[in-house]
Every structure is written in C-alpha cells, then in structure tokens.
Amino acid sequence: MAAGTSPVEDELYREIILDHWRNPRRRGHLEPADVTVEGNNPLCGDEVLLTMNVRDGSVEEIAFDGHGCSISRASASMMCDEVAGRSVGDAAELGRRFKAMMLEGGGAEDLGDLEALQGVARIPLRIKCAVLPWNALLEGLERGGGAVTTEEGPLS
C-alpha cells in the first residue's frame, strides 16, 4: 500500500472525524435530563439518544448515546461539543446551517470543525448518518427550548 492518504480519507475519513469516532466527547446520558430525544434511521439501524438540560435559554449540558457508524458518532460528538453552552437560538441556527451544508449544498463558513463532515454530503447514502443527531437536536430544542420538558427514562 502506497504511503499517504487516499481520496476516501481526504473526503470522508479525515483524522478529526476518526478522532471523534474513537474518542467521542460527551458520550453517555444525563440523569435527570430536561429533554430526551431518540432518533433512528430504520433503514440502517443507527440510533442516537440525546439528553439535554436547558436552563435560562441555554443548552447547559448535553450528551449523546446510541450506536451507529463512524460518521453518525463523530457527527454527534462534534455537535455536542459545539452546542454545549450555546443559547437555544444559537444552537438551532447552527443546526440549520449544518443541515443546509449537508442537504442543500450550503457552505461551511463559521461551522468550525464541523467543516470536516462536508465531504459526506457527496455520498448520498451516508448523508443521513451525519444528519441523524442534528435532527434529534432540533427536535429537542423545539420541545425543550426555554420551557422544561421532562421525559420518561431513556428509551431503548
């Protein structure tokens, strides 16, 4: 095997993505949690469980759990890192811009490390892996933004 990186690594499996996959940040689930959202891709079996505590209009704490491929896990890990501490409005705006990058050919400006996931947008079958945790986030923010929603324990 020739030294150096192949296109698939430049495009998809960049070191930062693999790092978040191997060493996911904020993995687990918060107890108690103001908001619990479960997301899944029935076609591929990926599942994400997102727990958040929203206080004074901000995402005070956030954690994810579940199972999925490197792309969905890295996307969830990077998302939780980016969103923690942001206001609900900011977090939702970030979610919309991330989804625009993945689904509508939007740019990666101001998305920081999330730019590394841009290559996934060129592989239609994998886009849903990257977007899964963000859909859960946006649903959770809508449900729990500002007000406090208490869900039953973790779904499985």
Binding site: Y13, L18, C44, C69, S70
Partner: protein, 430 residues
Amino acid sequence: MSGTLSVTSRTARGEVALTPFFDVEAIRADFPILQRQIGDRPLVYLDSAATSQKPVQVLDAVERYYRESNSNVHRGAHTLGSEATELFEGARRRVAAFIDADPRGLVFTRNATESLNLVASSYARELLQPGDRIVLTLMEHHSNLVPWQLAAERAGLDLAFIGLTAEGRLDMEVAERLLQEPTKLLAVVHQSNVLGTVNPIRELAALAHRCGALIAVDACQSVPHMPVSVRELDVDFLAFSGHKACGPMGGGVLWARPELLDRMPPFLGGGSMIQRVELERSTWAEVPNKFEAGTPDVASAHGLAAACDYLDAIGRERIHAHEQAITGHLIEMLDEVGVDIQGPREMAERGGAVSFTMGEIHPHDIATIVDREGVAIRAGHHCCQPLMRHLGTPSTARASVYLYTTHAEIDALAAALHEVRRIMDPGTRR
C-alpha cells in the same frame, strides 16, 4: 453474445466441447454490467444475495418481448394477444420445471415478499382458527416473519420460534420438540440471507407433516444457486424472487400444491382472477389464475423463463460447485484479514452469502471504504432485525457470490478490507 455455448470450452483444435471445466470468464462475458468501472476501478460485484446481475440472454428476451409480442394476456382474439398469452403461460411451465413443480400451482407475483403475504393472507388468516400455531425460526427475513405476524394478529394465531445453535444452524432438537405439538404451518427459509446456513428442508418437511402441519419455504437464496425440487423436498408452499436468479426485477414466484390453492380464497380481486361477476358477488377463475388479479408483468415472467434456460444450460450443480469453491476461498481470505464471520464456517450445508463484522468498525464504514475500491458489498441488518439481536450486533457486512464471481474478486475484497483496517484502526494509519 455467446449464448448457451458460453459454458463450453474449446479444445486445442478449436472444437466446442462440453467439459467439466467451469469457464467463469465466458460466463462473465454474458453479463454486460460486469464491464463497468466504479470510479477508476473495475466493478467487483459481491451483492448477488440482494439481487443478481442479468445476462444478455435475459435482457434480449425482455427487449424482444416488447419489440415483437407486447400485448395484454388472456384477453382479445388478435395475434399479439395470443402470442403474449402463450409466452406468459410458457413462462409458467418453464419456471415450474425449474423447481420440478406442477405448473397449475405456480403463481406469478411481484416478488417473494408478495408470495409469502399471499400464503399468510389466503391460507393462514382465512383458513386457520384462533389458537392455531405457526412455527417460524430466528433466522427469517422480515418477509417471512412480518406477514405471519399480521395474520396472527388478525386471526388470533400463536407464533413459536425455532432457535439457533452457536454456529448459526437451526436447533433441530427444538424443531423436533415444537413439531411434536399441534401445529398448522412451519414457515422456514431454505438458505439464510445473513448466515448462509442451508436448512434441512426435507427433514423439516417430514417433521411438519408428521404433526399435521404444512411447510412454507422461502427459497430466495437457494433456487438461484442449487438444484431445488419441490417434489423431492416435499414442501407445500415455496416462494422465490426471479431477480435473484438472473431474471428481471418485479417478478416473483409462489408455488403451492394446487389442491391448497383450490381451497384458499383469493388474495387480490380484479380482472383475470374471476369466472363470473355479478353486482353483489363473483366466482373465481381456476388456479393459478385465481391468484393473478390484473395485468401481470409478462416481460418479467418471460425474462425469468429465459433466466431458467440460461442457468439450466450451465447446470445448477455446476454453479453450486463453483460457488462452493469461491465461498471456501472467501472464508479463507476473511480469516486472513481477521474478521468475525457470523454463521457456519463449514462448507457443508452452507451457501455463498457470508456475513462478518470487524470489531468496532461499523459495517457502513466497511462498505463505503471497499466501494471506493470498486467492491460492492451489503451492510446493514439485511431485513433480519431479530437475527441481528440474537447475534448481538445491530448490523453486519455481507459478501455474496454467484456464478460469475471469480477468485480474483475475492482477493480484491480482501485487499479492500486491509484498506479498511489501515484507515480505521488506530495506530495503523500513516
């Protein structure tokens, strides 16, 4: 186009001779899609368990039908109408012969899923009584599980399940025990699409019949790959999809004992399946037409008949022997890469679908990376979520072979899997 001579070889003097030599390169020349490139790599198609590729003989048959004989069937007195009807009914006889079956029991459907739904609806839901039991197994595809769940829910039937041994074979002790108790139907897959396990259908049929049960077999992964005789297996219902056997998409098959079809009420109502229609009630056509409402996919049936001709000209014993050799090589190479094979390792009673996992590396990542090397494999739950739960993994990667698969393609998969390791395993990347 090499026609059916594609499987013969030429002697040194250039004569065509039938020999035991399996000329995989001549076979590959019959499949135009195998010339494709994926990016800058030649296609290595290892997903035939999902659908097979189609030889030019089948493509030509479908095109010739539409160019020369297209018309609706079983209606009208014009020449094309009778040609199309003869092609369709000829296809029924041809496909029945392919599984050594009485053509009166052969129903054309859209796919094996529809075939199994037909049996679940018109037999289990309509003819069984509350409390009657259906026995299934833990290795069934959703298409041989969910239809029975629906029938059970609506008719108050009980479901029981035969479990698996550690190496992924049916636990025959459990099968014997369950089939000593009153049971109406055993529904079982012939060859698992995940594990590759080939189940002892003849033995299971004997156990089912001994306790007064019928047996329905999902033969999607067996009929394309080995000789299958419904008479020898002594089964009551058998379903398969034409598109996995070199036939066109959209053509499925149900075979049932004609006397069972006679007893079963219709599945779908409409044209072609009636004898006499009044405003309030109707009477039904003879079987199998009773179960073929509306305009059938004549081209697909005709294409499947051409696929049967193609496969039988080569010989399914020889195809099976080739696949056994290739699958043995596949298992060897997977061992060399160091993956976990999910399913039997012994070649006896095992077919050419091999599932595997690679530790923490998700099957979707495996499939994406090998795709960049031109290698097409399947990743996911393979429509077998209960089996995945039993195996303790949400999904597997699966490579599956067919008559056109070569040793070199298996080597290409192995090289691509080394690339997966290099990229994904910590410490190996540089």
